[in-house]
């Protein structure tokens, strides 16, 4: 038998985003604010990022675990309940989640549900990298946990695949575990340089070799040259995907670009009463960005608790290649404008951009056009000031963001 309970706000995921929101809500007297975390410890991904550079503004000395502990403490001190070892496994109603923990099964109904489930790296299989299936094939998430949380042996010679800043963390963790990093490989024309490690750009991993244990990776350069890098470990980094399964199982609309729940500027999803924050919306941003989203969601969640109506979904915000995604990606009623006035939109491109001119158009009408005097890499989001969105016709067609 399941045990039925009711709370005011139920937050799924005790990472930086969920914890920041819980702290704000509990501090604002939102009633019973409960955070569910399926791991044995709360804190999310920073728990196993043993390097400095967390916090907003960035504090070089603040490590992930210390940052995570602070976030957990802040939520608890504010009066939120943080429960670990509890998995939200599905939905029993629009605002009712089913959970499993050693204490048994529960059905928890809330007046507002917030998904703060984070993001993961695509593993080798999802990237369709051919070859054998040996041991020694990891993602950064697995690598960091193995080394920092479990003290496990990793291997002697490693190749790191990817171009995002997380490459640096993978290299550092491998070195700390005593492995030599043979190369960083990326199919992009530019990568993340790490002192002392050869960087192979415009290069794909064509095949994994080895039975039992990895013996090497076959690499192929865009110019046709191929070679084999002998190694016993390969780490696939970046290529994030939001952990959207709970959202999809609840029938919550997912944005095609981000693959996370589609939300408006108030973090409202397509299901009334259900919000989403943090990396669950867009893949990995800095922890401070995820936490800021969590904190910013407090006002709309409080409004919901106070009985504010759930607006009809307005026109979607969509992007044209090489742009990959934008969030928020729904434009609803006027309450949005106040929220947007405070928070920038995040926009990602699949290719490096140099001083791009961005345009926004709706039904063939140009709403906005701006030149950004910057260079951005595909691993960094552009932040767009939201003022122009008040020109959007709320009953019009999709709003298209493109490079002009």
């Amino acid at each position: 038998m399941s045990h039925d309970r009711t709370v005011d706000v139920l937050i799924v995921g005790a990472g930086p985003a969920g914890l920041a929101l819980a702290a704000r809500l509990a501090g604002a007297g939102a009633g019973h604010v409960e955070v569910l975390e399926r791991e044995q410890d709360a804190g999310g991904v920073p728990r196993h990022c043993h390097h400095g550079g967390f916090g907003g503004p960035v504090r070089p000395w603040l490590t992930g675990p210390a940052y995570a502990r602070r976030a957990v403490r802040a939520a608890m001190v504010a009066g939120a309940t943080v429960r670990t070892g509890v998995s939200a496994t599905g939905w029993a109603g629009p605002l009712t989640l089913e959970t499993t923990s050693p204490a048994g099964l529960e059905r928890i109904t809330a007046r507002a549900v917030v998904l703060a489930t984070g993001a993961r790296e695509r593993p080798r299989s999802a990237r369709l990298v051919p070859g054998s299936r040996p041991a020694g094939v990891l993602t950064t998430g697995e690598l960091q946990q193995a080394v920092h949380l479990y003290g496990q042996d990793i291997g002697r010679r490693a190749v790191v695949v990817g171009a995002e800043p997380v490459v640096r963390h993978a290299v550092r963790t491998l070195r700390r575990a005593g492995a030599e990093v043979v190369a960083v490989v990326t199919e992009r024309p530019r990568g993340t340089a790490v002192p002392g490690v050869p960087l192979l750009t415009a290069t794909t991993v064509g095949e994994l070799r080895g039975r039992g244990r990895l013996s090497g990776v076959v690499v192929r350069h865009a110019d046709g040259r191929t070679g084999i890098l002998a190694c016993d470990t390969v780490v696939f980094t970046g290529d994030w995907i939001p952990d959207h399964e709970l959202a999809r199982r609840g029938g919550i609309a997912v944005d095609r670009g981000t693959r996370g729940p589609a939300v408006d500027a108030s973090f409202r999803t397509s299901v009334p009463g259900v919000f989403a924050v943090g990396n669950a919306l867009h893949g990995v941003e800095r922890a401070a960005t995820a936490a800021a989203e969590g904190a910013a969601a407090a006002a709309p969640v409080l409004a919901r608790l106070a009985g504010a109506p759930w607006p009809e979904a307005g026109p979607p915000l969509v992007v044209r290649a090489p742009l990959l995604w934008v969030t928020p990606n729904r434009l609803t009623d006027l309450t949005d404008l106040t929220a947007l006035a405070r928070r920038p939109l995040l926009l990602r491109s699949g290719e490096p951009l140099t001083a791009p001119v961005l345009t926004a158009a709706q039904d063939g009408r140009l709403l906005w056009r701006r030149r950004f005097p910057v260079r951005t890499a595909p691993s960094r989001s552009l932040r767009l000031a939201p003022g122009w969105t008040d020109r959007v016709d709320r009953s019009g067609g999709p709003v298209v963001l493109a490079i002009g």
């Binding site: 038998m1 399941s2 399926r38 070892g85 998995s87 496994t89 499993t100 923990s101 050693p102 204490a103 048994g104 099964l105 993961r120 790296e121 695509r122 593993p123 080798r124 299989s125 999802a126 369709l128 051919p130 070859g131 054998s132 299936r133 041991a135 990891l138 993602t139 998430g141 697995e142 946990q145 193995a146 949380l149 479990y150 496990q152 064509g206 095949e207 994994l208 039975r211 995907i241 399964e245 999809r248 199982r249």
Partner: protein, 480 residues
Amino acid sequence: MTVSPAHTAPTAPTATTVTTGGALPGGEYDVTIVGAGVVGTAIARELARLPLRIALVDASDDVGDGTSKANTALLHTGFDAVPGSVESRLVREGHLLLSAYAAATGIPVEPLGALLVAWDAEQLAALPGLAEKALRNGYRSARIIPAEEVRAREPELGPGALGALDVPGESLICPWTTTLAYATQAVRAGVELHLNCRVLGVTSAEVHTVATGRGPLRTRYLVNAAGLYADEIDRLLGHADFTVTPRRGQLIVFDELARGLVRHILLPVPGALGKGVLVSPTVYGKVMLGPTAEDLDDKTDTGSTAEGLALLREKGRRILPALLEEEVTAVYAGLRAATGNDDYAIRAHPEQRYVTVGGIRSTGLSASMAIAAYVVELLADGGLPVAGARDLEPLRMPNLGEAFPRPYRDAELIARDPEYGRIVCHCERVTRGEIRDALASTVPPGSPDGLRRRTRARGGRCQGFYCGPAVRALFEEARR
């Protein structure tokens, strides 16, 4: 009310013998089976009824670590076999036997039925012949259905389906649990399982002396169930009737969110260009696309290739376009033991007290129990004493199937033992209780992969991003 599956069932009773290293026990075995795939374990289980001393040996560190772990996991009816062949008879009988055994043992089976979808005029024209062939194979429930019915029953199908052959008896099955159930029951009934034990040579006199990587083993009767290597073992005994050519099948598995896209096993209509690829749900609640068919000469090449994966995606896009939008959980490949002959190569050599079970191509999982019964008959014809058979102790296996109750959803079970409420592998919802049970079971895993085949741990969409080190730690702790 939910029926609780067995969770603690296969814990080792004290007297069982599973060895993984060191010298083999001495003395003489009555029968030795080479190869602990689904076929070899089924034979061991069948022989375990008899008051004989039996050995089951395998080169690998686990049972079911060859072709039996990497197939399309369908329990076939045999509707499309070559009529009159040994395979036709054994698949038909095996389907009945394994269906009943699975129900009794808790091996997940889902009788979804298959649709052989015709995409062009040639395939449509082939359907009546296939229906008629099904009849000749003793299968009476196949019928041709029109395009509208196909569409109504599979709304996500790509455009252009012209009709289908409906084969309601085809089912999904868990191949891992099947092999493990046979092995567990055999070992509990006294069969001695020797792993990491490769057969290198055979000298035959009054008894066979089998040279293995772990020293010699003496046995009166010998059964060759070595899968891809059955021809090589055969040559050690002086036979050269067939040669095994590995025919690789690559497969892509899509995440459970794709499961809602497909309701049946979507089989291809075999044509001039080979058997084609299928789309099918799995008992683990995922969707599988494949296999390819490539003749190789390397019996160990279970790797995937860029060309193979591209081909599968192209075919899959036609069959079920929305499938390609979903996340891929796994890619793998298996090798069929093709012999160039359209039938199994099961041969008795009574004068040598030796039976070869070769060429068990793409239906061995389905036929396994019937193959086992047939092999015991052949051994008896060759003089093996078969008096004194007894019933085996019933067995209940832990459930890995999505269509049946799993521990993480079983309140009573968690109340009795909270470890069944502690989820370790989040994508597949595998609990610490299940991992603990598998590590302490009669036939324990020899590697983290073996643990995955017993529990699904680390087998989901994140492939270890979240749970990898935790699962590894549990495995290593148990081995210490």
